[in-house]
Structures are given as C-alpha cells and as structure tokens.
Symmetry: C2
Subunit: 210 residues, 2 copies
C-alpha cells in the first residue's frame, strides 16, 4: 500500500475509515467475502463515489469491476488506522458512565483494552467494578508513564475535565475521548474527540416538527 503521510489526507476522510471498517466486519460476520462500493454505500448512506475516492487515498484496494475482497480490505484499513494492535486505555471517572464504559464489551476486538479505572473519590477507590479495582487518580501519572499508555477516556464531571485532561497529557497520553459535556484544550499534538449525546439530540431536533 502506498504510504501517504497523515497530513496529506483530509481528517474528514480519516473519520470515515472506522465506519467502513465496521461495515466490512459486519459483512464478514454475515459470511460475505466480496463487496462493492455500492453495497458499502447503501449500508452507510454514503455515496459509492465518495467511498471509492476515500479508499483511493491509500492505494488500490479493488480491481476494476471485481469489487473489494472484504478480508483484505479489513486488514488494510486496520493497518492504516493502527488497530491491528491492541491499545491500552485508561478510564478516568468511576461514576455511572465510567462504570458503563468499563463494562462495555465492544472495545476489545476492535483494537482497545481498558487497563485501568481511576477515580478521585475515597468512597470509590478500592471498589471492584467488574474486572477492575478503582484506583486513585493520584496514582494515575506514574501508571500511565510506566506502562506507556497513550489513550484515555474521560468520564468526569464537566468542571473537572480540563484539569484531569492536563494531568493525562502531562503523563504522556496522546489521545483523549472526552465524555464530559465541555470543550477542553489540549496541545496541538494531542488528539481529542468528544462524545456528548445531547449535542447529537439537539442536532436532530432542528429538523423535527415542533
């Protein structure tokens, strides 16, 4: 595969690759071995031309007219997204949300494994949550540094999010998935993504008949 540098490929294209990967793995579960940009497009509600253009950034994945080999394309997309390895992830915040994240079974076979769950509250520290024992935020820095962990999920109250994010970055975290409903500032070389269901709901209510 031709190796383009990240800077050459628009971020919006990168953002669609995980959707392609998810749809391809679904097709694989359905025992399909070959698919087309049309089939992918139908499933994802994205035009087939867009899909072909996005994938062309990474070299030729399919021969003209024969479609995409699903297993091959999954492997290549996992290479591009660097999820053919397992990334360790820490979760900060052991409230309802942090607990739900820690119980979620969907991370592991998609490239991620939750390694630690942290909280600041003395009532929660030491508590067993599934396979985790809640650890004190005080120990977070050393654990992240010693284990070389690069990814964190932030499930703390909005008012604490910036401070915790600063601590995570200081410890060496390079990517934060922030569930707190607030924007936080991170250095340019640190990745940040947001999950806020309310912003998604408000996006949709714009279109509803009031």
């Amino acid at each position: 595969m031709s190796a383009k540098s990240p800077a050459e490929i628009p971020d919006i294209v990168i953002g669609r690759l995980p959707l392609y990967l998810r749809a391809l793995r679904r097709l694989q579960q359905e025992n399909e071995s070959v698919t087309s940009s049309h089939e992918l497009g139908r499933r994802l509600d994205i035009s087939s031309a867009q899909i072909r253009k996005d994938l062309s950034h990474f070299g030729g994945f399919g021969k003209q007219g024969t479609g995409y080999q699903i297993e091959y394309l999954i492997d290549k997309l996992q290479d591009v997204l660097q999820v053919n390895q397992e990334w360790m992830v820490v979760v900060v915040g052991a409230g309802n949300l942090g607990i739900a994240i820690s119980h979620y079974r969907g991370f592991q076979d998609r490239g991620f494994r939750i390694a630690h769950l942290f909280d600041v509250s003395p009532q929660k520290i030491g508590e067993r949550i599934g396979e985790f024992v809640v650890q004190p935020v005080d120990s977070m820095h050393n654990i992240i540094r010693d284990e070389g962990i690069k990814i964190a999920m932030l499930a703390v109250p909005a008012e604490d999010a910036q401070e915790v994010a600063d601590q995570l970055v200081e410890a060496g975290v390079q990517a934060i998935l922030n569930y707190a409903p607030i924007n936080i500032n991170v250095p340019l070389d640190v990745q940040i993504q947001y999950i806020d269901p309310v912003t998604r709901l408000q996006h949709m209510t714009f279109y509803l008949d009031g």
Copy 2:
C-alpha cells in the same frame, strides 16, 4: 430572526450549533454576559470567521464590535434548535449502557427528558432502574403513539438494532440516537445519529505513534 428553511442551511452548520450553545451556557455559568467569536473560537477550537459565518445564517446576533449578548444568543440558538421546549425520549435496551443513559443527569436542562425505558428480556421487565421501571418492548408502540414521543435512544445489541429501529419508526419516532455499533437504515424523513466510542478511538489512533 430571519427564518430560513432547514434545506438552505448546510447540515454541518446545524451540527455545530449545539457546540456553540454548550459553550455559551458554560460562559453563562462563569457569570459572563458578553462574548465574542474569538473567545468562542478559542474555547471550541473553531475559527472565529467560521463561527460568525455559521451564526449569520440565522440573522444578525451581534452588533459589529460589541460582541454577542450571551443570554440573547443562548435563547436564539435554543429557538433555532427547538430545545426551548422539553422533548420526551424513550430508551430501548436496559443493559449497562441503557441503565447509564437512564441515570445521566445531563439531558434534562438541555431540552430532553427520558420518559420510558424498554427492554425485551423477561428478567429485566419490571425491574426498577432509578426512577424508571423497565417496560416490555411489546408495549412500546402504543406508548410512543399515545404520548406522541418523537425521539428514541437505542441501546440494544447490534444484531437487534435494525428491527427495533423499524418498530420505533412505525410507532412515530422521528429521531433516533443509535448507540449500537452498526449502521441502520431509516426513511429519509427520520433523523439518525450515532454514538460509537470505538469509531472515535480508531479515528485518533491513525495519528498516534504506533
């Protein structure tokens, strides 16, 4: 405010309005009364020119040089997004995720109130989850129809998501927030948004030093 029809305004602009609203409410909590496109841009990591352009779709919100009145702009954005009212929402799926959603305190003062929690499992039906009693999916259609509920959050396993979405649409739901890690097809006049933390994580790993 000039009333543009939804079709005239790019969907990507609509998607940013909830972020502006969230940042403005944060500023209000910090006891600010006036802000600028520069301040908003700094907090949201969006250019001030983009913010001014986005807001100009809805008429003039600020006088040149005097900035935006926060309370006024919040009110107008809530009007545009139709969240100056409270929308009733149903949650389908009473697993860990559905339970966490049901416990989440962040919906109510941002335009949404969870009205019902449904599950298909006989072991879960009748169980008390916070202020909710889990109701059978069999009763979902009539409850949604009778109460005129238009919004649903889907927290069921991937393999059940399409079937449940079809049932929701059949009952009159016009907007679905899908937490199941699978794309689903809905009619053109039904809104759908996705929450899948893994796609967000995979977006970020592209940029990490492997």
